[in-house]
Each structure stands twice: as structure tokens, then as C-alpha cells.
Symmetry: C2
Subunit: 424 residues, 2 copies
Amino acid sequence: MHAVAAPHLSAAPAHRVARTVVTVTDAGGRPVPDAEVAVAQSRHAFEFGNIAFDLIPLANGEGEVRDVGFGGASAHLERLADLWLDVFNIGTLPFYWRTFEPERGAPDTARLLQTARWLAERGVTVKGHPLVWHTLTPSWLDDVPLDKLASVIRSRIVREVTDFAGVIDTWDAINEVVIMPVFEAEPNAVTRLAAREGQIAMVKLAFETAREANPNATLLLNDFNMSPAYERLIEECLEAGVQIDALGLQSHMHQGYWGEEKTLDALERFSRFGLPLHLTETTLLSGHLMPPEIVDLNDYQIPEWPSTPEGEARQADEVERHYRTLFGHPAVQASTYWGLTDDGAWLGAPGGLVRADGTPKPAYDALRRLVKEEWWTPETVVRTDAEGRFTLEGFLGDYAVTGAAGAASVALAPDGGAVEARLG
Amino acid sequence: MHAVAAPHLSAAPAHRVARTVVTVTDAGGRPVPDAEVAVAQSRHAFEFGNIAFDLIPLANGEGEVRDVGFGGASAHLERLADLWLDVFNIGTLPFYWRTFEPERGAPDTARLLQTARWLAERGVTVKGHPLVWHTLTPSWLDDVPLDKLASVIRSRIVREVTDFAGVIDTWDAINEVVIMPVFEAEPNAVTRLAAREGQIAMVKLAFETAREANPNATLLLNDFNMSPAYERLIEECLEAGVQIDALGLQSHMHQGYWGEEKTLDALERFSRFGLPLHLTETTLLSGHLMPPEIVDLNDYQIPEWPSTPEGEARQADEVERHYRTLFGHPAVQASTYWGLTDDGAWLGAPGGLVRADGTPKPAYDALRRLVKEEWWTPETVVRTDAEGRFTLEGFLGDYAVTGAAGAASVALAPDGGAVEARLG
């Protein structure tokens, strides 16, 4: 039986590859023996993500760029879209309450829905971020009496999760709960509620409401706090019966690359819950680092933060090392980079994979090489055997099988069960 | 029956005054009729406190001033001691672990004990601050394995509480627990333990250990967080069976006087637990205010922070208003100002009641006038009746009764029960 196999498979992490028998059939379900088919990977099972804020104006055919909090590139939008779509298969859209519903009752639903559909049509999974957070709340929320606040939050969750169901089925249900009840940098209604009700009640509010609105949703708990305080929160949530689908670990590294040891330590500690890990917000800089004494990254505001040649070389090295560590750990299911371009980047930091002028940095090339070359099963032509079968060995994900009778898509999953490619 | 009564009693808060019958007796316990006695208040029941860090070198006869974290005046020590002792009846001593035991096993016990005794001899109640806190931990603590840390903290608590029992029987058992598990400004072992074990376990560790070491101690939970998050912590501690003797509310007002409304709101919210309230750390500035965007007061470091005439007038007004609010609320049992002098003040802020040159600011005079005049029962000579009795009406506290046969001290307590002044 002829086989398709990626040349680097032996060096790949065992949990990222599989081997299965594919039976090629015709439209009537009859095996197609002794036929040549082209087999091409079309998608990674691993979720390589990025924020897709930059793509909102393009998806909506808008001439101007509107504020979504941050992450709105001002130029080269089509080129950015090409670079984005070439590497990433999951995009995060901004549901910051302040920018999504600056005026009560007038949410930005249509524009975000159009963007989500635009992404979905291009094979991108779409994720919403976040449903509940204490930062970037709208000013009108401060006027809601504390006793009504949970109900207003619940309505917002139901509205977004329902309006986007089927297009966005993955949500950061609640963000940064570890610090939520004591967050002081920006007085806000969500913190006041969290201080009164406690962390677990806030997590329940977010998860139970979102789950009821979309039982199929993948719901994440997301935090930047990598200390045992987050582990403890997760424990308490699980004990309280909250159904968490994945754990979100932010990884903004404005103050320097964590290195393999610290990264692996975090992955080990958070994998003990048996839940998939999503590295939700990765930043690595191609310029000078933020000083270590800054505690809240938002406190560091400088007029110019240039990307430098030395910084770009370092960033490329660190991006490659970071993604190797994540891809190498079986608990990691997704890794979302926090911004494609330096143009409009969060904090003005040169954390993009693309320069403000739209040209790719070495880090972009390094990541693309991993995602689309080293960890990508190359397209091959194979001949089916007398029973119409061939063996597919490759990176987990989706594959297009194309023969004279047409094309089919098959999924290569870790269980390795036999699959059928019914051409048509 | 002749009576002693302060002239301002009718204007005084009802919960701060009492009326009782005093029977003057001789050394054998026989009433002394128709005799003149002088009656003088010697002490307030209300605890007017200040930190006494400045007095350590004086109490120890030291020529030089050693670092105790902050609060070490460099000159005018005797004058400062006079000013201190004229107004305050409870003094807080610094037990910051980093400065108290910079080298493991070599605590600064003798020097602090000498200071505590020096204060006690002068009629001052002494309080220790704090037994457990995440800030100002010694660097050697970082080398203690996490599994041994609770035991090391327990030993430290037992040592201090035992060594000082009888001289210091009031402790901030644990400080700033609301933020303890997520405190990031200074990575430290206590936060790591709190993140793992949770807030309630940390409170229990502090209170149960200190209680066992000194069952007579008054133990405080102390925090700067005045939000519902602190209320919630208190609720959870009480539900978990922690015996809290008083609630400490810090009130550093470097960013501006709270005003009566906010102060009363906090007093109302925290008085619902039925526990005495101690305003533990009050600061009001006589210079420019710290900008409102600073979240951690420690982040604001400037080379010069002068006391100004306008600032001193404002501070005097605010000190008077603040103390009136506290004295006027029945739940408040103590109010500790955070530093006598600007010399060596925390953050270099002009929050002292005395200028760096040792001269009192208007705020000192205002506070002294309240404590020793408006709220002080003036000395009076009264004649006992045929049964040796007189009526004492005045501010709660201790009184000296002096007659031809000698002197006695009586306490004027809220219950107003009859008391005996046995001269001798």
C-alpha cells in the first residue's frame, strides 16, 4: 500500500502526528482502486492563532479604520490579510465592551459578524475575546446599580453568544479573574461586583450564561497570572462544578522571553487539570524590552518604540523556540500570537511579526516555516491499492484528496481510525 | 453631690462620655467625707496612636539612627518625644521582617523590647506591626522551600509574640491579605505561599499562631483595601471561625482627603461585623498631592516633596475633620497617625504633624487641641459628700483622684458603674 508521509515526521512530536488508512471511494461509495490521487494538507489541527482586529475594515469594505481598543492597522490591509491567512487558522475578534457597545443598546454586532463570516469563509475558526473583563468596560456601566449589574452582564453575554453562534463558537468567557476583585488601575463596575460576589461567582456567571446561550461553545478561562493563585482559582472553579473547556494562558513577554524552562514549568503546572491549554496572547518584541520594574504593562507608555535589526533577529529566534516548546507539549492545543503588525500594536510595542510598513520580520518567516514547512505534510501524489486504499501519515489536521472523480476532505485525527475520502 | 464635668460635654459624642459615682476612700477602705480632691483625666480610653519608629534611638540611647524601613527621624529626637507623648497614648513599633531580622536568626528583639518598655513606662500602649506581610520580607526567606515556609512564619510569630508579651499585646496579625496572593510589585515567598494556600489559610496561620502564643493579645486584620473585597474577606474569615479582635483600616490619603462622606461610608460598611474599628495608618499631606493615577503609592518617588503654608493649612483642617468623624463614630476604637515628623517620613511625603525642623505644623496643634482640650475633661477640685462620694462626668478614660491622704486612679467606663478611689 502506497503511503504519504512528511519528510520530517520522525523528528516531529509524536502527539502531533498520526497514521491512518484512507479508502478512496466514488460518489456512490465504491472504492476507487489503482488510481492516482493528490493528497494535500489543508489545515492544522493545532490552532495557530492571531488577533484579527486589523482585518475588520477590510472585511467590511470600510475606507477608514475605527478604534477597537487597539490593534487597528492603518495601511497595507490586503497584504496583511494575505500574510495573516497564510499562517493562521484561528482569529480572535475584539469584544471589549467599551468599544463594542460604547453607547448602551448600540452594539457593534453587524460589523463584527461580517468580519467573523469573512474569516470563516476563508477557513478560519473565529474566537471572541472576552465576554467578561474588568478592563475596557463602557462608562455607562458605572451608572448601573450594583444589584442590577449581574443581570446586565448576563444579557450582554447572551446577546453576543447568541448573535454569533455558528460563526463564533469559542469564547474567552472571562478574563483575568485572579486580579478581578482587587484591580485598582481603573475603577469599574465589574471589579465592584467581583469584590462583592467573589471570583467563583463571577466565573460561574460567565460560564453558565454563555453555556446556556450556546451549549456547543468552547469556553475558556483566561489569565495572565501564571502563579499558583491561578492554579488555585482553577481548582476552586472545578470543585464548584464549572465546566471549563480550555485554560487560557496569556504570555505577553514585553519584559523578555520566558525561556524554555519557565514556559515548560507553566505548561506542566497548568496541564495537571487535564484540560487543553491555549496560549492565548503571546507577544515577543523586536525592539528594546520593557523595564522589569513595570508591574502593569499598561503603565509603560513611550512615544516611540522602534523595531531594530538586532531585536528582529532575537525575536525570530525566540518565536521559533517558543512555538517549538508549545508544539512539543501534548497539553497545548492552541497558540495565539497577539498582533500581526507593529502598526497600531498594543502599547505601541514592536511585538508584531510584520513591520509597520507591511514587510514581514524574520519572526514571521520563522513561524511560517514551522507552520507551513517543518510541521506541514507536503502535497504528494499516491496510487490507491486494489481496495482503493492508501496510508496517510502526517501532521494532525485536514487533508484534501483529489482524484479524477473529484475531491474530498478527510481529517487525520490522533486515534488513527480508518477514514473514507468520497470524491465528488 | 458635687460633680466634675467637662465644659464641652454636651457637644461631645454621647458614646465618648460617661457619668459615674466615685467613692473616695482611705487606705483602709473607709469613705472620706467632706474632703476636697483634685480630679484630673490622665488618659483617653480612645486610642490616639502614632508610629513610634522615631523614638527607637532615643529609647536605646543610640547616637545614630538605624534603618527600620522608614520613619526614622534624624534630629530633634527629644523634642519629638515630648510632642509625641503629649498627644498619643498608643505607639506602633516596626516589625517588618526585612529590617527586624535581616540576617536569619539575628532578630532585633533587644532594641525593640527596650523601646516598647520605654514607651510603656510613659503610659503608652504599644502595638506591633505586622506579624505577616508580603512586603519587606527578608531576602533569606526566598531560599526557604515553599513546603517549609508556613513553619518558618509560624516560628517567627511565636518568637515575637512570646518575647514581647506583657509589653506588646496588640498586633497587626496580618497585613494586606486582600492583595497578598496576587501582589506582583516585589516577588516574595509570602505571596507564593498565599497564592498556593489562599487568603483564609494565611489569616488562620497568623491569628491561630499568635493567639496560641499570647491568648491575651488583641489581634488585628489590617488592610488598605476599603472595597467590598475586604468586607468579603472578613466575612469568610469569620465564617471560617477566625477570632478577629479588631479590624484595621489603613487610611493613607496621599492622593487627597477622603472627606466625611467616603470616611463614613467605610466606617458604616466595616462596622457591620460588630468588631471595633482601628484606623491604623492615617496620612494627610501638607504639600502637593500624589497624582490620582498612581495605584501603588510606593511607585511615586520624587526627590523633594515640600511642606507648604497652604498645604499646612489644608492639612490642619483635614486632620481635624478626619478625627471628628472618627471620634464621632461609635465603632471606632483607635486612630493611628502614620508618622510624627516629615523627617524620614514614608515616601518622603510631607505627611508629618511636625516639620522636618522639629516645629509643629498647624495640624499638630489642631489634633492636640482636640485630644487634650476639646475632648479632655479639665482638672477640677471637688468636695466629697457625707458618704465620701462625688459624681464624675467626663470623657471615657483614666482619671487621677488626689486628696490629702494620697492619690488613686479610676477608670471612667461606658457602663457608668460606681467606682472606688482608694487613696494611698
